[in-house]
């Protein structure tokens, strides 16, 4: 008699639920997963190596392309690490703008996550609902940076420029009538802050729609509850961070534990789970969106009242204002040096981490005093979470693997770097 072997299934890299280029070699007994072996590297772009040949500012756009659904948070970690080496302070307004955009990014990321997660579990309508809301936040990105995805808005020393006073407008065209364009422009008549305030007022309604569709849905609960359980001990041992850790009941949030930017001045709660299963992680992330919404509101209120500089006035780091450059010899020299050589960073080492929507995203620098980093190391949360894949999916069914991938919220831009 022929011996019975397990069924080996190559899950990805071309697979609807592979979230990019995950290649998972699954060993199945019937439909039950015996072993899950994630293979990575299909999206490797050598970001860390590239940074060694780029000036400090030139690497900022590479950060956007790491976790390409939470762009500004990646930039934030990079800028924090650079500032730590330089020993400079960011102006207060710059800190608040960063806080606000970090939270916008968190909502963006979580919206994409819940959309894709629900799509993977089979509820495809969620993906289209969340993209409706993402559109508004993308417009906010566009208003400050000109780009909807890869913003490159943060700079060592602050942010590139102050918030704009007007929003981009829709124009009437063959496909958009003048009336329709007028309706679309209704909440874009004011400044970016007005637009965002309008969004934060609308968002809780959308958020409750998602809850209606999913939270108490029996099928959704059957698919998520007790799937991919991680105990608090194992979560810590495996180095999980972010919602993966908080879902297991550990209240660890860098925004609270090591406040950066303006997080010590805004009020928010850190939701934690109880059982450490996919459903708890779902609830944690859902609540995080509402908390982010509150933080954005607080930032808007502060930013309205407190005008000021948004980037450091140390012109060895940040370029001088353009008018100054035209009239002042010293500033012309600064400008020339900055845009030819770049920033000179003192020799040393620094690690800075932010509470990225996916977990702890850290940048580690070694500088030898040149205008380029000697070595950059990226600590990507998704990489660590993916390493827990085997443990989380063992003994579950094939369909649960899809749930777990969704629940880990992995993005290959940061895992493969």
């Amino acid at each position: 008699m022929a011996d019975i072997r397990n069924f080996t299934l190559n899950f990805g890299p071309q697979h609807p639920a592979a979230h990019g280029v995950l290649r998972l070699v699954l060993e199945l007994d019937g439909e039950v997963v015996q072993r899950a072996d994630p293979h990575i590297g299909l999206l490797h772009r050598a970001t860390e190596k590239l940074a060694e040949t780029r000036t400090w500012v030139q690497s900022v756009p590479y950060m956007d392309r790491l976790d390409y659904v939470s762009m500004m948070c990646n930039e934030h970690a990079y800028c924090l690490a650079t500032e730590k080496l330089l020993g400079i302070e960011v102006p207060e307004r710059g800190k608040y703008i960063r806080t606000m955009f970090d939270e916008i990014t968190r909502i963006l990321n979580h919206l994409l996550w819940i959309g894709c997660h629900a799509l993977d579990v089979g509820a495809m309508t969620m993906a289209l609902y969340t993209f409706r809301e993402r559109e508004d936040l993308m417009d906010a990105y566009e208003a400050v940076s000109g780009a909807r995805l890869h913003a490159a808005y943060y700079r060592p020393g602050g942010v590139y420029r102050d918030l704009p006073d007007r929003m981009p407008q829709y124009e009437a065209s063959t496909w958009t009538s003048a009336k329709k364009a007028g309706e679309l422009n209704e909440n874009r008549s004011g400044s970016l802050l007005d637009f965002l305030e309008d969004f934060t007022n609308r968002f809780p309604t959308y958020h409750s729609e998602y809850h209606t569709l999913l939270t108490d849905n029996r099928i959704w609960k059957q698919r998520l509850v007790n799937v991919g359980v991680v105990t608090p001990e194992r979560a810590k041992q495996m180095g999980f961070t972010g919602a993966m850790l908080r879902g297991s009941g550990i209240a660890w949030d860098l925004r609270k534990k090591q406040p950066y930017a303006a997080y010590d001045k805004v009020e928010f709660d850190v939701p934690v789970g109880v059982n450490g299963d996919s459903y708890d992680r779902y609830l944690v992330r859902m609540e995080e969106m509402l908390q982010s919404n509150n933080i954005i509101k607080q930032c808007i209120a502060w930013l309205r009242k407190n005008p000021g500089p948004v980037i450091t006035d140390n012109h060895k780091v940040a370029p001088p204002p353009r008018e100054g450059m035209k009239t002042n010899m010293e500033e012309l020299i600064h400008h020339f040096k900055l845009f030819t050589e770049g920033i000179h960073v003192p020799a040393g080492e620094a690690y800075a981490a932010v509470e990225h929507p996916k977990g702890e995203f850290g940048i580690y620098f070694i500088s030898d005093g040149a205008n380029k980093p000697y070595r950059m190391k990226i600590r990507a949360p998704g990489y660590v979470h993916l390493a827990g894949m085997d443990e989380m999916s063992r003994g579950h069914m094939l369909a649960d693997v899809v749930t777990i991938i969704g629940s880990q919220d992995i993005v290959f831009g940061e895992i493969d770097r």
Partner: protein, 349 residues
């Protein structure tokens, strides 16, 4: 009609009855194919509007030509046979899937007389024929020589077999109360009773006294046609496209036609057995085929609505629902109906 018969007799002579039957088959299948095409269009439109988009709108006004364009595209495409596939079975499988979906229509009555074969055991015939549909899916999954397709086929086999049981039980209840296996008689049986005599015939249709069976049949029908949330055998995000992952061109389209044909069939059968077929819901409006179409459309809308709303069941949860919920409910209600019919409260005599 007689003139037509005599004319046909004159031209074809002895083979006229066969020609006449063929004509009738064309008259059923051609509109059916058209409905299938436009059901895909309706699905994309309805789900589109549910998902804050507008669905197809480029080909023809409101995208009305879209299904034709899709059909043409699929006709032109090559049918790629994977190198390791069992070629004969690979080609036969889609035919096996669509044949029962079309053959079942032979006994479906559209009104009193509009039925291809008004046979006495039409309910039995339907149950026998629709059970065949699963072979196409199993064989396609097997013949593709692909792991995803194989998993899909295994899932389909288990799922279809288990839901057939609860479906069968639901139909046995209908059979008991109508005292007939003939679909025309089953509709007629729903036109009697106290409510019907008051002119409220929609309350005397089978759905009310057999409410649990109606729901079981409807849900099992969704499962039987492999539609969301029971679409585990194609499970887009798990096993890519399941049993038809290796199919392309018209071979794929035939599976698609079979799926949508089955949807329409299940909706029609639900209307006939539980919603009074062509009967008008209230006494003052005439009965007619339009009522049947309206009921079918309403149930088809439910199919689309489910797809836009629900996440997908996991394979084992699907089996649990079938065996641990539906089968017991059916068995209990079967006894309840039996006792009810024997008791003085019997409403079906």
């Amino acid at each position: 009609m007689d003139a037509l018969m005599n004319f046909g007799q004159g031209i074809f002579g002895g083979i006229w009855p066969a020609v006449w039957t063929l004509l009738k088959i064309v008259l059923i299948v051609a509109p059916l194919m058209l409905s299938i095409a436009y059901l895909t269009w309706a699905e994309r439109k309805v789900i589109g509007y549910m998902q804050v988009r507008i669905g197809p709108n480029r080909v023809g006004p409101w995208g009305l030509i879209q299904p034709i364009a899709d059909g043409l595209k699929l006709l032109m495409k090559e049918i790629v046979v994977p190198s390791g596939a069992n070629k004969a079975i690979f080609i036969i499988a889609p035919m096996l899937a669509i044949a029962p979906a079309l053959a079942a229509w032979a006994v479906v009555p559209f009104n009193e007389t509009l039925v291809l074969a008004n046979i006495d055991a039409s309910l039995l015939y339907i149950m026998a024929i629709t059970s065949m549909g699963v072979y196409g899916i199993i064989l396609s999954g097997w013949a593709s020589n692909s792991k995803y397709a194989f998993l899909g086929a295994m899932r389909a086999a288990a799922q279809m077999v288990s839901y057939e049981i609860s479906m069968g039980f639901a139909l046995i209840c209908v059979l008991m109360v109508s005292n007939s296996l003939n679909l025309v008689d089953i509709v007629h049986a729903q036109d009697q009773g106290r409510f019907a005599s008051w002119g409220l015939s929609f309350l005397s249709w089978n759905w009310l006294p057999l409410l649990p069976m109606f729901l079981v049949y409807l849900i099992a029908g969704v499962a039987e046609t492999n539609r969301a949330p029971f679409d585990v055998c194609e499970g887009e995000s798990e096993i890519v496209a399941g049993f038809h992952v290796e199919y392309s061109g018209m071979a794929f389209a035939v599976f698609f036609l079979a799926e949508y044909g089955n949807m329409i069939l299940v909706s029609t059968l639900t209307s006939i057995m539980f919603l009074g077929g062509w009967l008008s819901p209230v006494g003052f409006l005439p009965d007619g085929i339009l009522w049947l179409f309206a009921k079918v459309a309403a149930i088809l809308f439910l199919f689309l609505w489910f797809r836009a709303t629900f996440p997908r069941y996991r394979y084992d949860q699907l089996m649990r629902l079938g065996w641990k919920v539906f089968v017991p409910v059916c068995l209990i209600w079967l006894v309840v109906v039996g006792v009810w019919m024997m008791s003085p409260l019997n409403i079906w005599n």
